[in-house]
Subunit: 301 residues, 2 copies
DNA sequence: TAAAAATACTCCATAGGTATTTTAT
DNA sequence: ATAAAATACCTATGGAGTATTTTTA
C-alpha cells in the first residue's frame, strides 16, 4: 500500500467524484480509476460503492479513511522533521560536562543556544573527562566539555579557554590579600583538593605542580564539588588551588591570589565525534566559544 | 516519501550494510544505493554516513528511523484491518431497535453474533420505527429493527417475525384465565396503551382494531415502556393489548388470553440500506432470524 | 439521454538488473 | 589489497495521458 495510493484514496474519499479528485491531484480521471481499483485489489476490499451518478464509501472505506489520513500526516511530518534535524533547526543533543565548566560560561552558552534553537532538546550529564570520552565513542554523547586530554583519532577537539590556577585563601589568613604568592609558600598549608576520583586530571596536575617545586602537599580534605572546595576555604579549613573562574562564584570570606611566574593552567576543551557530524554540535560550539570569551573579557563582573 | 523508500530505509538502518539490506529486500545492491540517495534528496538530509567499510545513521537518520517504523506498521495494520472489515471479521455496527424487540429474541441474537464476531463493536440505539428509518437513510445506522412500515426504495427489509396480539389481564379480573376473548369484551375496560409518541404504529393499530369492532377504547394510561404496561396490569390498573412475546417477561399476577378469530398482528422487521452492503449486516441478520425462530419454537419456556 | 466511471491503448519515467568503477581502510 | 558502495547503462514494469466505451439514474 504505497503512499501514492493512500493520497489518491483520501482525495477521492473527500471529493466523492473521480473527476474532481483527479483534478485536485493534478492527474486525469482514468489513472485515478485504475489506482483506486489497484488499491482495492491490494486490500481485498471494495472501498467505494460507485456508479455513474454517485460515489460513496463502503464500511471498509470508512475504516481506512482516518487511518490513511493519519499515515499521510505522519509521513509528511516525519519528512519535515528529518529535514529540520539535518538543518540543525530541530533535534536532540546530549552534552557531558565537568563540574568546573559551570563557572566558565557554559550555562550562559546553553541559554543562548536554547534561544536560537527552541526545538532542540539538550540533555546535560555531569561526568569526568575520561567518562565523557568513553560515552562519546559509544555515541551516547554528542559533545563533551572536558579538561585537557589526548583525544583519540576519531574525536575532534577545540580549546575553549585556558586560565591560570589561583590560590583561594580565607580572609584573615596570613597570606590573605597578597597579590602574588609563590607556590612554595603553600608548603605547610593545609590544602583542600578536589577529589582524585572525580577529576584525576586536575588532582594530578596540582600534585605535580607541588612536586616540581620540591614539596609534597599535605592533603586534608578531598571533596567532590568545587563549591565544597570554596566553602571549606571560606570556613578557614585551609587553602585551595582552583581555576580562576571560581572567583566568579562570589563565595564570601575568600580571597584569590595569583602565583608568581608561569604556572600550569586549567583548560576547558570541547570534544565531539569527527563523524557523522551533527550540525547542532557546530552550532553549540559557536555559542560556547562566544560565552566563554565573554567571561574572559569581564573576569570579575 | 513513498512507503517503498521507507521500507528500504528501515532495512538499511537495521542492517547497516547495503549488500545485506538489499538481500533482505530481495533486490540487488545498486538499486538500493539509488533509492537511499533519492530518499536523502527528498528529505534534504543525509541519513547515513557511509564509506566502503561502514554505514552509520546520522542524527537525521536516527530521527527518521522510529517514525519510519511506525508509519510502516500503521500502514500494514490499516491494510489488514480494512481487509477484515470487508470480510466481515472486524468492524462496527450501529443497530436501532424498538423497545419490544428486547422480548423477541434480539438480545439472544446479539449474544450469538458477538460470539461469532468478537472484533465487531455493536452499538445499540433504542429508537422508534420512523426515527430508525431516518437515521438509516443518513447512514447513521446500519440496521434497524422496526414495526411494520413501508420501507423506501433504497431500504431493504426482512420480516423477522409476526405474532398475534394478546390481552394481558390481571389475576382476579373477571376475564382472567379465559382462553379466548372477543375484542368487544374490552369495550368498557380500562386500556393501558403504549405511548403514541414512542410507537405511533402500535398505538394506531390497537386504536383501529377497536374502531373496526365498533368502539373507541378508553385510554387511561399511556406509558413509554413495555415493562411499565405489564406492571400496571399486574397492579390491577387495567388490561392491555400486547405482542405475544411479552408473555416471556414472566410478570407475576398477569395472565394472557388470545383473541377470538384473526386479529391484527405485531410484526418485527429488519431494515437496512440496500447499498453499500455491509457484510456484517447480512451476518447479523442471520443471527436475528435464528434467534427469533428459536423464540417462536419455544413460546413459553 | 447525459454525466461520469471504466476500458483500451500508447508513451515515457523509473525501478531494478548486470557490469564496472571508485573509495576507504 | 580488498570489500563495499557508487556509477553507468540497459530492460521492463507500470503510471499517466488521450480516445473511447459502458453504465445508470
Amino acid at each position: 500500500m504505497e503512499t501514492r495510493l493512500l493520497r489518491y484514496f483520501v482525495a477521492l474519499a473527500e471529493e466523492l467524484h473521480f473527476g474532481r479528485a483527479a483534478t485536485r491531484l493534478s492527474i486525469s480521471q482514468p489513472p485515478l480509476s485504475v489506482a483506486i481499483k489497484q488499491l482495492e485489489e491490494q486490500v481485498q476490499a471494495q472501498l467505494f460503492e460507485r456508479n455513474s451518478k454517485e460515489v460513496r464509501l463502503t464500511a471498509a472505506g470508512e475504516h481506512l479513511l482516518p487511518r490513511a489520513r493519519q499515515i499521510l500526516s505522519l509521513t509528511s511530518q516525519a519528512a519535515q522533521e528529518t529535514t529540520d534535524v539535518a538543518r540543525g533547526v530541530r533535534g536532540h543533543l546530549r552534552v557531558g560536562f565537568v563540574g568546573s565548566s559551570l563557572y566558565r560560561g557554559v550555562p550562559q552558552a546553553l541559554e543562548a543556544f536554547q534561544k536560537q534553537h527552541p526545538q532542540v532538546r539538550v540533555d546535560m550529564l555531569e561526568l569526568n573527562s575520561a567518562e565523557q570520552l568513553q560515552e562519546l565513542q559509544q555515541a551516547r554523547l554528542d559533545l563533551g566539555l572536558v579538561h585537557s586530554v589526548q583525544p583519540p583519532e576519531d574525536i575532534s577537539s577545540q580549546m575553549l579557554m585556558e586560565e591560570p590556577f589561583l590560590v583561594a585563601i580565607p580572609e584573615g589568613h596570613r597570606l590573605s590579600s597578597r597579590k602574588e604568592i609563590d607556590l612554595l609558600e603553600l608548603k605547610d598549608e593545609r590544602l583542600i583538593l578536589f577529589s582524585a576520583q572525580v577529576s584525576p586530571v586536575y588532582h594530578q596536575r596540582i600534585y605535580q605542580m607541588c612536586q616540581s617545586r620540591g614539596f609534597t602537599p599535605e592533603i586534608r580534605h578531598e571533596v567532590r564539588h568545587w563549591l565544597s572546595v570554596l566553602s571549606l576555604v571560606s570556613l578557614g579549613q585551609g587553602v585551595a588551588i582552583v581555576p580562576a573562574a571560581l572567583q566568579r562564584v562570589g563565595m564570601p570570606r575568600v580571597t584569590f591570589s595569583q602565583f608568581v611566574g608561569d604556572q600550569a593552567t586549567s583548560e576547558l576543551l570541547a570534544v565531539w565525534r569527527r563523524k557523522p557530524t551533527n550540525p547542532l554540535v557546530q552550532s553549540l560550539l559557536g555559542c560556547l566559544q562566544t560565552a566563554v570569551d565573554d567571561i574572559a573579557v569581564h573576569p570579575l563582573d
